[in-house]
């Protein structure tokens, strides 16, 4: 989990090992609702969600972002500090879906002794549809 990443060995264009989460379940989404405090019925109540035109309850976007942040932060390990993460939400995630988090190195920069890696990141469901796209900065 806390992989040893060496800044000097990283190369622009390198991919980091992917992380697959799920399949998601209603219980899992409910657990996240309780932990995060976001009990919006579109995440908990199928009847309510379908009345909104959704196929079923959906996972919180912030849970999907939690997966992506887990992926990057645990790759960075104890030597890297996640300085910034930004995501755009795409396709919805619902029970039964898996989410695979991927990232590659976009840029490396050394400025006044501070070593920063800029990552391009995304997450896709089992059909290959993007549920999240974004970027992150990790300081080593």
């Amino acid at each position: 989990m806390s992989s040893q990443v060496s800044f000097d060995k990283l190369q622009v264009g390198d991919s980091i090992p992917p992380l697959t989460k799920g399949p998601l379940t209603r219980e899992w989404i409910k657990k996240y609702a309780d932990a995060s405090g976001d009990h919006n019925p579109i995440h908990i109540d199928d009847k309510f969600a379908t009345s909104f035109g959704l196929p079923s309850v959906i996972a919180h976007g912030m849970l999907d972002m939690g997966f992506v942040a887990q992926h990057v932060a645990n790759w960075a390990g104890l030597d890297g500090f996640l300085r910034k993460i930004k995501v755009r939400f795409g396709a919805i995630v619902k029970p039964g879906d898996t989410v695979t988090c991927k990232a590659k190195i976009k840029e490396k920069k050394v400025e006044s002794g501070k070593k920063t890696v800029f990552l391009e990141l995304w997450a896709e469901n089992q059909k290959g549809e993007q549920v999240i796209t974004g970027e992150a900065e990790v300081v080593f």
């Binding site: 989990m1 806390s2 989460k21 899992w28 657990k31 996240y32 309780d34 932990a35 995060s36 405090g37 976001d38 009990h39 919006n40 019925p41 919180h60 976007g61 912030m62 849970l63 972002m65 939690g66 997966f67 942040a69 887990q70 932060a73 645990n74 104890l78 500090f81 996640l82 300085r83 910034k84 993460i85 930004k86 995501v87 755009r88 939400f89």
Partner: protein, 161 residues
């Protein structure tokens, strides 16, 4: 058929909200990490965390969502994101959480008493493909601990579809 033009009020840009307080509990950090199924022991194992450079348990990266408020319907008083939605006249039937960003300055730790201030950082009207206008609102939350140290800045972008 073209969509309706947005009613989002451009004049609320810069509006600041009263501070929200939040106390961080060790058990809640662990429960939050468990809800993501994040096995990193930094979030739950005191002994392990004490031996790292963090010298103790810290919160996972998306934990600030717990104190900056989800969009909870029917809760009184409305939590910040919902309140911002109302104040800016974002159409709730069209509104989606389009983007989210966090910047990290100092770790969040058990026992922290966090104060967050929400500000409407930006309000825009943008054209849809059909030529109608939609509203886009950026809310920025700045969170500090009891020592006044800046912990995180979060930015949520709410978009009318």
């Amino acid at each position: 058929m073209p969509g309706k033009d947005t009613k989002v009020d451009l004049s609320v840009k810069g509006k600041e909200y009263p501070p929200i307080k939040f106390k961080v509990e060790k058990s809640h950090i662990a429960a939050f990490a468990q809800a993501i199924d994040d096995p990193n022991k930094l979030y739950s194992d005191e002994k392990h965390a004490a031996k790292t450079k963090y010298k103790g348990i810290v919160a996972p990266p998306t934990y600030p969502v717990c104190f900056t408020g989800g969009i909870e319907m029917g809760k009184q008083p409305p939590p910040p994101l919902m309140k911002v939605g109302l104040d800016t006249k974002l159409n709730p039937g069209l509104m989606v959480h389009g983007e989210q960003e966090f910047e990290y300055f100092n770790p969040i730790r058990p026992g922290d008493e966090i104060t967050s201030v929400a500000r409407i950082a930006d309000v825009e009207h943008k054209l849809r493909k059909d030529g109608s206008k939609r509203g886009i609102v950026t809310i920025e939350f700045t969170s500090k601990n009891q020592k006044g140290e800046k912990l995180t800045v979060g930015r949520a972008i709410l978009i009318e579809r």
